[in-house]
Point group: C2
């Protein structure tokens, strides 16, 4: 429709960990990654959370990497028996899991400073699927990795964020969705029908409606319009504002 071609780049997130599903740990990565990808111009299209079970992880990795341009995983790359993400990703790609010499060196160097033993458990963190490149971890040393379109990161938020910073400049990005939020000063049910008509007339534009409660005014609604074409965004914003004025006039005209 627009004159500028707008490329769409998509992504999925796979959160791996029993502790999220049991409720013991509350995920803080999904929202952070969502914000980051949106800012970059990558559309996050799906998120899954699975337990520390090989079958579930392998299946999710293969489903999501086939469907989206990128798959970001969090969790399961530590030194203990329940950290099985690396071997599951290797299995998903059908490649062997191998010690990465550079990863071994990173661990060795860090342990020389912090005073720990490079034992069997810690060596687990140096194993990556054959063909993967490392993703640096400036927080605690043990790296993540990148294979094909899959980026494997830690579950600890500070470490995950550092890893995402590392890969962000190297990601292919699309035309960013620009968005505008319009406060309706009306209940969602009073604008729903007219808003649906605007949405129908503008299929390339995403229109979301989010009710909220204002302490002073009571029930209210935020209307969020998103589009890749700023011109189109401005048009739909104007259409929404005209509609809201009409609803308001109708309300004030009625007893």
């Amino acid at each position: 429709m627009g004159s500028a071609s707008s490329e769409i780049v998509t992504a999925a997130v796979l959160v791996i960990g029993d502790e999220i599903l049991s409720g013991r740990t509350k995920d803080r990565n999904i929202g952070y990654i969502a914000d980051c990808l949106t800012a970059l111009g990558i559309d996050l299209k799906e998120v899954r959370i699975v337990p520390d079970e090989a079958r579930a992880i392998v299946e999710a990795v293969n489903a999501l990497r086939a469907r989206y341009d990128y798959l970001f995983t969090t969790g399961g790359i530590g030194p203990t028996h329940d950290d099985i993400t690396a071997e599951c990703v290797a299995q998903a790609f059908g490649v062997p899991l191998e010690l990465h010499p550079e990863a071994v060196e990173i661990l060795r160097e860090r342990l020389a400073r912090t005073g720990g033993e490079l034992n069997e458990a810690r060596m687990r963190m140096a194993r990556v699927p054959r063909g993967a490149t490392l993703v640096a971890n400036k927080v605690s040393g043990a790296p993540g990795f990148w294979i094909g379109n899959v980026i494997v990161m830690a579950g600890i938020p500070a470490v995950m964020q550092a890893m995402l910073d590392e890969v962000a400049p190297r990601l292919k990005t699309g035309t960013r969705l620009v968005s505008v939020t319009i406060r309706a000063d009306a209940k969602e049910g009073d604008v729903g029908t007219a808003l649906g008509e605007i949405a129908k007339a503008n299929p390339g534009v995403l229109i979301g409606s989010y009710p909220f409660f204002d302490e002073k005014q009571g029930p209210n609604t935020n209307i969020v319009v998103r589009a890749r074409d700023p011109q189109k965004l401005a048009e739909v914003k104007a259409a929404v504002e005209t509609m809201l004025a009409r609803v308001k006039a109708g309300r004030e005209g009625s007893p």
Copy 2:
């Protein structure tokens, strides 16, 4: 293994909404539902987040309801064009979407009190798949619904919580996983190998290892043991504590 038969009841959660995937809204329902199901004795095994797109919703509903005992959905049941959960669930079940007389009555009654019009947009909230029963919403009126093993709830946390309270007493529950958290006072990498051996020797018991940073002591680890059989839990807890004492003695013995 144990003498008491322990029934396992599983569930999945499907979060529906563009606003979660764009990062605009941070999900607060997943962790709440996870806690609630764990307390009830239902194992949350998978979570998915999908956008307000019919194909994605229908596919996820059918994949998850087939695989788990229950599927809980949140979001997409308001009065606007982007609220398409009810029609997608109807499509997933292959049944028509119909006005539910009791739901219409609930909306009519509430609007008589709050002063709103039962217009086309609001009537959307009275549509449920044929065969569904309503789930009361004590917060804002418009009900959720329950069809087959799928429970459809609102996205607004206070409303979702009220709906979950309504259905909780009617859910089939399994033998609860009991859990114990053991503070290792050791780095994760120093206990990983020995912990893995304990995990291997106790296949029915879930052992998780979660590193954390103590402001005074530095890097530390919580070991979480979960089992359905309290006797088994006590045995594995003792094994972990013995292992930790051994690690500590070894550390103090070394220079």
